[in-house]
Symmetry: C2
Subunit: 334 residues, 2 copies
């Protein structure tokens, strides 16, 4: 098919037009030419396994620092890593709005292939649906992932008082980049999404046998939502140091202009890593040596005080509660 | 949350409103109260595994004989069964249009729970996105599935000349039911979707060690598309007997009124089973004893003639080619 074409309903109808789309766009980008074209892929894995899924509806589908394809692969890979699993295989299911340029779909598929290679994961199965113009917005992608659990017991429910909380870099980059791109306010290349698969960081920590209790990638709702979830799941308190949390100046300025708190803005290439105090410095050193971890820092501690609550000590020395966001935030950020 | 509410963007924003939706609708219907609320679920499985995914965009979301939830579970379960795997775990990811009544979502989630119980499969992980009104149509569900491969080598590429082709029941019921419901033409209860998980049929055949070469559930594109794919993958010819293929009279009448050939209409509770000639009758007897297989019949044979092509002998004795559909078919049928 030509990249000058647009997607039509026939590309989702189960016939030769759909087969052509799958072979020439998806399989061409990331398929295995020798794999049988069956309803399910076969994987030779031994348990225990991790299994996760995420739908991506980001608007716009192309933004500084990434696109919906890179996001879909990195997001699912990071969810597997967060439970201490090595990502192995992904599925990718597309819901496409009639009229989407095939060229855009090719770009997205190639971005998925590139990101999957970066994350050393294979996209092994998929599905394609096409809906009439106005019944979806350009393209939605759902990726599911299967991984091998390398370390048991890493969970949002396993943080312990005394643990250190490491954040692998700055916050708010993804959310700010998408918001500004959507509003066509992005006249700077200073703001760019952080979308990335974090295999190096997580697998290095596991290889080094660092005593990790909890990991979570702070996506929708930002570190504010993620840390509140962990505080609740683990029935512990969390104390953050504002000055240890990096917000790049253009991101801080954008958040201020948009009236949003960067603590609640989505990240797509960051991990919160909660480790025993004894392993905190060693873990930090390992993370900083990795490609996406150079700016990692210890942003706070887990405490037995105020269980279920997240507090932050501001740069002027006062302390405030970081409430869980209720939800009136940025839509379609991921 | 109240079932009188409607979904708003905050239900997809990663905050407390989203947690409430997940806990009170999805976890209440099919969740495991003891499972940790982490980014990935853990599964204790040993390989080889089957892995599959499907997005469901059916319109309307409720139709005679099923709904989008039952369809999403049965569709993914049947794709695992089709490669000879026992379905174990599903993920369920929702893209919801702002404004959807919570009541509808509860009904869909409960239908998924019921169908999952019928298929002896657990829904272990999920995701929820909400998009603005007009950016999606009510709700789209993507289910992925993991299963244990019980029998190796069952593939669309493994059909052999001489094999018998068994179809587990009538054709066109699902597509006709959805089309008529969409056009509000359904004033009869004589047409109803066949949506069902086919565990009993497939697992009984595997237990009985029937020599199955290929299985495929003929969904979008119907048996016409599925058999053409198999003919191509296996490089064999296929010869069908029209009189052995059951089309219920109201479905036949509906297809005629809509100007569509039932051979190309979607089924969601049927399986094509291609077995060695020696095991054909025994397999048919086993299928007919199962809940969804009472009307099974041998509808044709695999041949070494005309490889890649499907032919049908009509009831008046002539033979015509069943071409692969190009795609101008029924949109949003699954």
């Amino acid at each position: 098919m030509s990249t000058e074409e647009r997607i039509t309903l026939k590309h989702g109808a189960g016939g030769t037009a759909m087969v052509e789309l799958i072979e020439e766009v998806f399989a061409a980008a990331y398929g295995d030419a020798n794999a049988p074209r069956d309803d399910s892929a076969r994987l030779d894995l031994t348990g225990p396994l991790a299994f996760t899924t995420d739908s991506f509806v980001v608007d716009p589908i192309f933004f500084p620092g990434g696109d919906i394809g890179r996001l879909a692969v990195a997001g699912t890979v990071n969810d597997l890593l967060a439970v201490g699993a090595r990502p192995v295989a992904l599925s990718a299911s597309f819901i496409i709005e009639e009229g989407l340029p095939v060229r855009d779909l090719v770009t997205v598929a190639q971005s998925m292939a590139k990101t999957a290679a970066e994350a050393e994961v294979r996209i092994v199965t998929g599905d394609t649906k096409v809906v009439a113009r106005g019944s979806a917005d350009k393209v939605f992608i759902t990726t599911s992932g299967v991984g091998c659990v390398l370390r048991d017991g890493i969970s949002g429910a396993a943080a312990k008082p005394g643990d250190a909380i490491i954040l692998t870099g700055s916050i708010g980059d993804h959310g700010a980049a998408v918001m500004l791109a959507r509003e066509k306010l992005l006249d700077t290349d200073a703001i760019s999404s952080d979308t990335a698969p974090l295999n190096d960081i997580v697998l290095s920590l596991i290889n080094a046998e660092c005593e990790i209790h909890t990991m979570r990638d702070p996506t929708r709702g930002g570190i504010g939502a993620a840390l509140n979830e962990i505080a609740k799941q683990s029935a512990v308190g969390i104390e953050l140091e504002e000055r240890a949390i990096i917000v790049k100046p253009p991101v801080a300025a954008a958040c201020e202009a948009l009236g949003i708190d960067p603590l609640y803005v989505a990240n797509e290439g960051k991990m919160l890593v909660i480790v025993s105090a004894a392993d905190a410095q060693r873990s930090l050193d390992i993370i900083r040596q990795q490609r996406w971890g150079a700016e990692a820092s210890i942003i706070g501690r887990v405490t037995s005080n105020h269980p279920g609550q997240v507090r932050i000590r501001t740069s002027i020395g006062t302390t405030r509660v970081v409430s869980p966001p209720s939800g009136e935030l940025l839509p379609r950020i991921c």
